[in-house]
């Protein structure tokens, strides 16, 4: 009994690590099985379009508003810095590079996690607790093909496109602050951008948004789909809310982590 003081934390550390490892393994298998559906027929085109509409079209307004304000604040901050060095002509370059390489992909991904990722996780979690996924299995409808694969495609298509929208609107938000308010020359704003934002910068942004979209859909659908296997799992509404919170946190952290890794590799 006296050993308990030392043993208990060790035991719980061991249990937590094992559970985490187990979940990682499950998520890995989940990802592989979901991706294998590329070869499964038929593709549920109607469901894919429905999901693209949900993830993509319905997020456009949020992304546009967010992009405008981010572009504006970036221009404001850079203007304030650049004006001290007398190089406000570089404003377009600074805004363009920071949006295309960093802020566009990351902020779009974070907004999509909050808007579509959490909803997707909750929806699939509810389907799991309500036996709807079992019902699909019993009707010989593969839930990976019918339920998950359309969502994978939808995120993969929508997130890079939304990132592009975010970037374009952000650049015009920057234009509004720089050119319309602070009277930086319009020619300088766009020319410096065209000179310094290279294809390699664009490809870094695109790579990021593709990787992020996969991370979001993987974590958000996987957490909901596998929620019945979690240790000490709770059924019903509380279980779904827990797993959704979990998915949002894990997805956000993974994106910031992946962002650093991709930047380090591609810079």
């Amino acid at each position: 009994m006296r050993m308990m003081g030392v043993r208990l934390p060790l035991i719980s550390l061991g249990q937590t690590s094992l559970a985490a490892l187990e979940e990682l393994g499950r998520m890995g298998i989940f990802f592989a099985v979901a991706m294998r559906q590329i070869f499964a027929r038929p593709w549920e085109l109607r469901l894919i379009l429905q999901q693209i509409r949900f993830v993509g079209a319905r997020s456009v307004v949020v992304i546009a508003v967010a992009g405008a304000f981010v572009g504006m604040v970036v221009a404001l901050q850079f203007y304030d810095t650049l004006v001290r060095f007398g190089s406000v002509s570089m404003l377009g370059s600074a805004v363009g590079l920071s949006l295309v390489r960093e802020l566009g992909p990351v902020l779009t991904a974070l907004i999509i996690i909050g808007r579509a990722g959490s909803a997707t996780c909750a929806e699939i979690g509810i389907m799991r607790t309500d036996n709807q996924i079992d019902a699909l299995e019993c009707m010989a409808v593969d839930p990976y093909r019918y339920l998950l694969f359309p969502r994978f495609i939808a995120f993969l298509v929508a997130v890079p496109l939304l990132t592009a929208i975010f970037n374009v609107i952000g650049i015009f938000g920057g234009w509004f602050v720089g050119v319309a308010i602070f009277k930086v020359s319009q020619g300088a704003y766009f020319q410096s951008m065209a000179d310094t934002v290279l294809v390699s910068d664009l490809s870094m942004g695109v790579t990021k948004s593709i990787v992020f979209s996969v991370l979001i859909v993987w974590i958000c659908t996987g957490k909901g789909f596998l929620m019945h296997l979690n240790q000490g799992m709770v059924f019903g509404a509380e279980g779904v809310s827990r797993v959704t919170t979990d998915a949002v946190v894990v997805a956000s952290i993974s994106i910031l982590f992946a962002d650093y890794i991709i930047s380090a590799l591609m810079l």
Binding site: N131, D134, V141
Partner: protein, 273 residues
């Protein structure tokens, strides 16, 4: 009393042999075996926690038992591949307790789903077939409603309509009368008997409702704490002298309280890690 047609053939459509199942360290099922013949209504009865839902999940291949073998329509499930399992499932129907309708789809879309996925029938044929099944469940005016707009009994019937839309050879029904008023519950019982008599469907029902079980069953299996305590025709069950069956038949309270020393031990028990 509905008529019970004599069973012309005794082909076994579902067989389970020595099923044992664990949840963590707790054993849910102890060596459960059963066999269901073509055209039979077989009722698995038991109180909540008796392991009947776990047993059902094993029988339809949703989970694998730790020991034992299930043979569904002649196919052993332990060694079956996923495509073959899916082929097999097209010939069975499963109606879940709460209906388990896909909540983003209307009632008729739910009922049509198996047909759309597995047949190449044209839209109007699919619609007609689905409407026929909905009419059978007296749900004709709900076809455009969403599952969230239906009552518990309607959800259950819609789930049943979806389960039988492919005219399965074997139908599983989880808790047809749980949470329903007596009238609706009696209607569902009639439906089950009707399906068997009209379509010669084999039906496996899992329930804790004694009245409904005795009314519809050809044979009943009584489960208690994961063990079979009785298995036989309705007459055999009602005449059983087994105290657990008797207590269930007469709705007696289970005597679970440990006595004396045992109870004291239970109270002072420490979690020994």
């Amino acid at each position: 009393m509905p008529s019970r047609p004599a069973q012309e053939d005794h082909t076994v459509v579902l067989n389970a042999n020595g099923l044992s199942s664990f949840y963590g360290n707790r054993q849910i099922l102890h060596d459960v075996s059963l066999s269901v013949a073509q055209g039979e209504i077989f009722v698995i009865m038991g109180a909540s926690g008796s392991g009947k839902t776990t047993l059902l999940r094993h029988l339809i291949g949703l989970s694998t038992p730790n020991a034992g073998e299930v043979t569904l329509l002649g196919n052993p499930l332990s060694s079956i591949t996923k495509p073959k399992l899916y082929e097999l499932r097209k010939r069975i129907g499963v109606a879940f307790q709460g209906g388990a309708l896909i909540n983003s789809m209307s009632v008729i879309d739910n009922v049509e789903l198996p047909l759309r996925q597995h047949t190449s029938l044209d839209d109007s044929t699919i619609r007609i077939m689905s409407r026929m099944k909905l009419d059978m469940m007296s749900l004709h005016d709900t076809e455009n409603m969403m599952p969230a707009q239906l009552s518990g009994g309607m959800l259950k019937r819609a789930g049943l309509a979806r389960a039988v839309v492919m005219d399965p050879q074997l139908l599983f029904f989880d808790e047809p009368s749980a949470g329903l008023d007596p009238v609706t519950s009696a209607e569902l019982d009639e439906l089950i008997i009707g399906l068997r008599n009209a379509l010669r469907m084999t039906v496996v029902v899992v329930t804790h409702e004694l009245e409904s079980a005795l009314k519809i069953a050809d044979r009943v299996m009584v489960l208690a704490e994961g063990r079979i305590v009785a298995l036989g025709t309705v007459e055999e069950i009602t005449q059983s002298t087994d105290p657990r069956v008797q207590s269930m038949l007469h709705r007696q309270v289970r005597d679970r309280q440990p006595v004396g020393e045992e109870y004291l031990d239970h109270l002072t028990e420490e979690d020994d890690i």
